[in-house]
């Protein structure tokens, strides 16, 4: 079965650079979530989209932005990167409204800022 696809899997950037992470949800899933997991931390919710509109916002820095496109894939754009942005970034998706639906996570994108 198809899963949530994230790219790139690993990314190394320097301070003050920009990074873009991509997420391809499971087919027919209309909601996408972004989470950030720092070293030794639990995942923290950043932002979510439902039917291409932002549906909820968490602890996402102003330097970060995200959107969901017409094909339901989503991109997380991170600018002016800081060392503290080094983390594992998860994308997750679900088919909202479906009985017993579940949120499925991708393998994550490792971002290292040096």
């Amino acid at each position: 079965a198809a899963g949530v696809i994230q790219s790139p899997r690993h990314l190394i950037k320097e301070k003050r650079e920009t990074a873009t992470l991509k997420c391809y949800p499971i087919p027919r899933h209309d909601t996408v979530y972004w989470y950030q997991q720092g070293p030794g931390q639990d995942p923290q919710f950043l932002i979510s989209f439902y039917e291409k509109m932002q549906s909820d916002k968490g602890s996402i820095p102003d330097r970060f932005s995200a959107q969901q496109f017409s094909d339901y894939h989503s991109e997380l754009n991170m600018s002016s990167l800081e060392l503290g942005d080094s983390a594992l970034y998860f994308c997750a998706s679900r088919e909202t409204g479906r009985s017993g639906n579940t949120i499925y996570f991708g393998e994550g994108s490792w971002l290292t800022v040096v």
Partner: protein, 117 residues
């Protein structure tokens, strides 16, 4: 607001002995609860979920959890630990009724399970 508290940051068991990972939740409505597992340097894998059906939920790899409303608990158990069970386990609650639009997941702090030979 919805939240989960994992009562142990680290649990160590011997291979072949039972596993108990404790989780209490707080929710203003009937919650949807999940357990996810994360192996080192890996993504999050769903172990099991509770969405107001049977209170005893069976998951993958022999894990199960029981939803106890009176105790606001959703503890994860396994009768016999295996070395491959060593990982980080997260108890998770949905912040909205699962059938509604949106509804993000709120993670507990995680419990690291170590399995000794």
């Amino acid at each position: 607001a919805q939240s989960v508290t994992q009562l142990d940051s680290h649990v160590s068991v011997s291979e072949g002995t039972p596993v108990l990972l404790r989780c209490n939740y707080s929710s203003s409505y009937s919650p949807s609860l999940f357990w996810y597992v994360q192996h080192p340097n890996k993504g999050l894998q769903l172990l099991l979920k509770y969405t107001s059906a049977a209170t005893l939920v069976k998951g993958i790899n022999g894990f199960e959890a029981e939803f106890k409303k009176s105790e606001t608990s959703f503890h994860l158990t396994k009768p016999s630990a295996h070395m491959s069970d060593a990982a980080e386990y997260f108890c998770v609650v949905s912040d909205q009724e699962i059938y509604n639009q949106g509804g993000k997941l709120i993670f507990g702090q995680g419990t690291e399970l170590s399995v000794k030979p």
